[in-house]
Symmetry: C2
Subunit: 151 residues, 2 copies
Amino acid sequence: MTTEEAGLSELVLRTARVLRRAHREALEPYGLSPHQSRAMGVIVRSGAEDGDGLRLSDLAAQLGIAPRSATDVVDALEEHGLVERRPSEHDRRAVDLRLTPAGRALRRTLERARATVSDRHFASLTDAERATLARLLRSALEASDPAGPQA
Amino acid sequence: MTTEEAGLSELVLRTARVLRRAHREALEPYGLSPHQSRAMGVIVRSGAEDGDGLRLSDLAAQLGIAPRSATDVVDALEEHGLVERRPSEHDRRAVDLRLTPAGRALRRTLERARATVSDRHFASLTDAERATLARLLRSALEASDPAGPQA
DNA sequence: CTTCATTGTGAGGTAACCTCAGCAATAGGG
DNA sequence: CCCTATTGCTGAGGTTACCTCACAATGAAG
């Protein structure tokens, strides 16, 4: 029983490694690291397209890194012209982060690239099998972390 | 269909993150990084307990890092008294790596800790579900990478 | 109007990688 | 047998992605 699950954890980690590597390769042509891509995703998902944008410290929290480190991530994205910092209207200490039009366009491209990577990896499974796989992974995640992580 | 698998890839990555973090925490009391632990695993699995030991460059290859980087990993493990370098009998340029008795003992402890982490994460699934999960992950891995990675 | 907390960033540190250069040893062709 | 090319490892130094600590500007609370 124990060895059975040790194998399971290894399988998950190995699958993740394959996916991450493929993802990294897909991102490379755009000069983005996976982490930067993830940061863009967080900004998008926080409703930053239309509203006030996202605080730098909130980005840090959602990425699970220190605020100071988020500064560097945003610096890089800003240099690429994908994200912009603008002073918050409500708090002159803070900045609001949002994607530029170029950032939004690239984000969509990357989303598609990522889906392709995933498609390819799981292509050998049937639709039903994919659904089962998703259900089991989701179930274990929810049971072991009821809080439900944001990232 | 596409969104379905995008979700799948995200689930795998998220599960991996949870497992890796738990694994890291389990290792912390022993002053080892996950990578160092993995290196010990590679050394053990190469039949290094009784035979000639593993070449440093082979360790590097199996860890997927540059030989120079493996030197540092081994340095650290050697300082902890877990691994020893001894000159190869057949090639005086090379070193054979093998676990010390302390290394073997710790390795067993870590193996158990890792199994516990995995057990806990997948505890909510039935035995049959765990078996299904393993089968599907393994199947996709084998289909997408027929070479079959060693690490 | 102090005093305290919070936001972002400069400075500087660490871990885990990398490449490049170099030394010792081995392998192989003449 | 010797001379060159290759191999196995490591020193030096660079990069990336984090970190902590200190601090200026601002905001909130008494």
